[in-house]
């Protein structure tokens, strides 16, 4: 498998330079009840999904991008 991820500072780079940070989620929950869903439940979308990627072997910045989980196509 291979794909290219567009990093705002480094341009299009192989995805093996990045580490995957999961689906884009809220950063806080108003209460403990909704927190459970925020922490544990994922959409696991078949199709375009917003994700966080960390350019570990590059500029070490995080990027939010949209990846189609069916085709692995990444939009910048």
């Amino acid at each position: 498998m291979s794909m290219l991820v567009t990093c705002p500072t480094c341009g299009r780079r192989p995805f093996t330079e990045f580490s995957f940070g999961g689906e884009l989620r809220d950063i806080a929950s108003p209460d403990a009840a909704t927190d459970f869903a925020r922490v544990y439940l994922r959409d696991n979308a078949a199709g375009p999904q917003q994700e966080r990627w960390f350019h570990l072997l590059g500029c070490r910045r995080w990027v939010t991008l949209t990846r189609d989980t069916g085709s692995n196509r990444v939009e910048a």
Partner: protein, 854 residues
């Protein structure tokens, strides 16, 4: 004259010979025995597409004799047949074959079960090709990563035309399996290739000869295998121009030695000058018949050229006659070689491997059998990025009632019929049940026959397609695939050479190399507890966190009351994840109001950086995280005389007023600027000296020199493990589990629950409302304990020992372990094998912490 040895027999080698050419000239006709029936198999495709001529070369199996250059002194062995390929007693299988239809093994050996392992051993000995050289050292292959605009696979007419055209649009790489123009018998084609190669190179295309694309993966990423390197090509588009080979004819006797595909026969005759037979019959339904006849005649054979349908070939050891249904009727020819050019089988395996729109075909692989001009036009269109015309695979030979469909796996038309009658009625299922297309040639010859068979039997459209192709197209060696995997990332501290020189045992600790012990663990422990010692702790994660919202960031992320840390002070820090579980621990030192110095565990440094950067980003705070792990060294000076030692090397104030516990100060030690952090991991008075890495050696040497007055000695990881356990400090991952919240570890004191918000707070609230079902406890034992041992209460296993040691400072064997509650209470006396364990208060050593406050 140069020569090679084939099964011990000396065979002359002429300039330009392949192994097959030299052997064929010497009269070798049988190159292998077939997989199941042990039928004789000779040279067939002659172009590296089929598996008939796989031989072992200098101990390495699976080399294609027809394309592997012969060298003087080469040792070649045929791989199949017992006792030899020429005289194979297992050829009896050919007689029995009808008794062993496809699926035979599955059915016959289904019951009794004990029989199969025995039968399997016998079957494996009788089948298979070659023997893996298990003791041969793997070659070291380099892996190279290349990114180009266009990758062209195949350096023929279409491929080079595509490359020459695509070069106007960006970088181009051409991967050609052999040398450009090698083994092309048609002079016009050779000239075209030379012209296009010059044009492509002039336009800037790079051509890699001797490089085979073995698979196209998502991306598209292409694995290209050279002799000494594996090239991983990331291309924005891929043009597959791998050409075509003659279609495989299926008729009785189609696998006899002496039956050839056309282009390979022409190469043998015209390039190698080896006549393929005395009387050759060419059956050609393509327009290459006359060219083949000329080439083969030039080799010195009598040639008869006919068009028609091959009904049957006969012969015992080799082909001796053939029946052809010509427009004039059925005709029989005596012959000693039969050459087929019945249609085209595009080498489209790479194209069938991917659905990526960036991967297109050009030339023969999409529309075989066209003229050179057509191939060039097709390549140029693909190079420009024009839409690809729909595939036209040209004529295809009808399969007769009998004959081998899959030559690699010995699957005959009877087998396909048999499987169909058993209900395996789609091409994909036929493939799996009969294993047709699954041999070394990966369906190059038979894939389309399988699909055509399903179509002829009336399979539904979805069930009669070409089967999916998967990498690799060509068999790589295991060593090829492990290219560069041998590389192991190792990080060394600046003091590594000092540790080695001191005779330390060096351990792998994550990616770091660290001293385990300098030879005397007890002596190292005593130095720390009684005198003074140093340890290289440069591997700790070290971060500068600064910016006007740095304090806000740290307070929002960590469960620590960051607001309460005054500049000059330091605090133990837990990092929780969003589920409230302990992710890492470390120390946070306030350098100023908006500048902080953070340390993490050695293994957690990368994760800590990513974690902090993520939160800085998501919270949109004005803060910067600088990872100083590689920039700074750190030496922990520990022991009752730690301050005395530093006092001999520093003029700075080292009193508790100047460096409080826990706290820090900037001091100069032996001329080296250090951030001294007073910490307590080993439970004695200690100072972690963080300093520029380039000065580590200078500082280390000065400390050891001055420390001689107290008989200083450095300690390693083994001593540290005992020292920290005496203080019952946990090692994350060894003592903890992925779902530990602080209360389970007894670390709830490190969580400022009164804070409004920190990562994991809601989850902690949720978990803290539940009864504690598991916790880490200190244990004392009445005998020597063993790590990992289960802990039992009244015969029921309720936990296990995660760390233990026999400690004089702690007054006997102690350890840490997990316990789960039984009916809401935790047992206090347990059995661990032959030893009794009693839950004990912690720390085991200096519980009041008098010594470390010093």
């Amino acid at each position: 004259m140069p020569s090679l040895r084939l099964d011990g027999r000396r065979i002359d080698v002429r300039d330009g010979d392949t192994i097959a050419a030299a052997a064929y000239r010497a009269g070798i006709r049988t190159f292998s025995r077939s997989l199941k029936a042990h039928r004789r198999r000779g040279l067939y495709c002659g172009t590296g597409d089929c598996a008939n001529c796989l031989v072992t070369v200098d101990g390495l199996p699976g080399e294609r004799a027809c394309v592997t250059p012969a060298r003087d002194g080469m040792k070649v062995d045929r791989e199949t047949g017992w006792p030899s390929t020429d005289r194979d007693l297992l050829a009896i299988n050919d007689r029995l074959h009808r008794l062993m239809p496809v699926g035979f093994y599955y059915k016959v050996f289904a019951r009794p079960r004990w029989l199969w392992p025995i039968a399997e051993r016998v079957i494996r000995r009788a089948t298979g090709t070659g023997t893996l050289p298990l003791k041969a050292p793997a070659r070291r292959m380099a892996t190279r990563f290349v990114r180009v605009r266009t990758l062209v696979i195949g350096g023929g007419v279409a491929g080079l035309a595509a490359a020459a055209t695509a070069a106007a649009d960006g970088s181009v790489l051409v991967a050609e399996e052999r040398e450009l123009g090698a083994r092309i018998t048609d002079p016009a084609a050779r000239e075209t290739i030379a012209r296009l190669a010059a044009e492509a190179r002039a336009a800037g295309a790079e051509v890699l000869e001797g490089h085979t694309a073995i698979g196209i993966y998502e991306g598209p990423a292409t694995a290209v295998l050279g002799r000494d390197e594996l090239v991983e090509v990331e291309a924005e588009r891929v043009i597959v121009a791998t050409g075509a080979v003659e279609a495989h004819g299926v008729f009785p006797g189609n696998d006899l030695p002496g039956v050839w595909l056309g282009r390979g026969a022409a190469v043998m005759a015209a390039i190698h000058g080896v006549p393929i037979g005395d009387r050759v019959v060419i059956v050609a339904n393509t327009d290459e018949g006359q060219h083949l006849a000329d080439a083969i005649r030039a080799g010195g054979s009598d040639v008869a050229l006919v068009a028609g349908r091959v009904l049957e070939a006969r012969g015992s050891r080799e082909v001796s006659s053939v029946s052809v249904l010509t427009p004039e009727g059925r005709r029989a020819f005596a012959c000693d070689a039969l050459v087929l050019s019945l249609g085209w089988a595009p080498r489209d395996t790479l194209l069938r491997m991917t659905a990526e729109p960036e991967v297109v075909g050009a030339g023969d692989v999409t529309s075989p059998g066209r003229s050179l001009a057509d191939a060039e036009a097709s390549g140029r269109a693909a190079g420009r990025g024009d839409p690809v015309e729909p595939a036209d695979a040209g004529p295809w030979p009808v399969a007769e009632q009998d004959g081998y469909v899959c030559v690699c796996e010995d699957v005959s038309m009877h087998d396909l019929e048999h499987a169909w009658s058993e209900g395996w009625t789609s091409s994909e299922i036929l493939k799996r049940y009969t294993t047709a297309t699954m041999g070394p040639c990966q369906g190059a010859l038979c894939s389309r026959h399988l699909a055509e068979h399903a179509r002829a039997k009336g399979a539904a459209p979805a069930a009669r397609g070409r089967t999916t192709a998967r990498p690799p197209v060509r068999a790589p060696r295991l060593g090829d695939l492990t290219g560069a995997v041998h590389e192991q990332v190792e990080r060394r501290t600046a003091l590594h050479e000092r540790h080695v020189a001191a005779g330390a045992r060096i351990d792998h600790s994550g990616v770091w190399l660290r001293p385990g012990t300098y030879g005397d663990v007890d002596g190292e422990i005593r130095a720390v507890r009684e005198r003074v010692s140093v340890m290289d702790v440069s591997t700790l994660g070290k971060f500068l966190v600064a910016g006007r919202e740095a304090r806000m960031l740290l307070d929002r992320v960590f469960p620590l009351d960051v607001g309460s840390i005054a500049p000059g002070r330091a605090r133990y820090l837990l990092a929780l994840d969003e589920a409230g579980y302990v992710m890492d621990d470390g120390l946070l030192a306030a350098l100023g109001d908006d500048t902080f110095y953070l340390t993490s565990t050695s293994g957690g440094a990368d994760r800590m950086e990513a974690w902090l950067r993520n939160w800085t980003d998501r919270l949109e705070l004005h803060a910067h995280v600088l990872n100083q792990t590689a920039q700074l060294g750190a030496i922990n000076v520990a022991g009752p005389h730690a301050r005395d030692l530093l006092a001999t090397l520093s003029e700075d104030d080292l009193s508790r007023a100047a460096i409080p516990y826990p706290g820090h100060a900037e001091i100069t030690v032996a001329g080296v600027p250090c951030r001294a952090i007073a910490v307590g991991f080993v439970g004695e008075l200690s100072y972690e000296l963080h300093h520029p890495r380039g000065r580590s050696i200078e500082l280390w040497d000065a400390l050891l020199d001055a420390g001689a007055a107290w008989d200083i000695r450095p300690h390693g990881l083994d001593a540290l493990d005992v020292l920290r356990l005496e203080k019952s400090h946990v090692y994350l991952a060894q003592d903890t589990m992925p779902d530990d919240h602080p209360a389970k570890l007894g670390l709830d004191w490190a969580v400022a629950t009164h804070k409004d918000e920190f990562v994991g707070k809601r989850a902690l609230e949720r978990m803290n409302a539940l009864p504690l079902e598991r916790r880490l406890v200190g244990l004392r034992f009445d005998g020597p304990p063993q790590r990992g041992y289960p802990l039992a209460a009244d015969g029921v296993i309720v936990g296990r020992i995660t760390s233990c040691t026999v400690s004089s400072a702690a007054g006997g064997p102690v350890g840490l372990g997990w316990l789960r509650a039984i009916d809401g209470t935790f047992p206090s006396v347990l059995r661990a094998g032959d030893v009794t364990a009693t839950v004990s208060p912690t720390p085991f050593y200096d519980p009041e912490g008098v010594r470390l406050r010093g």
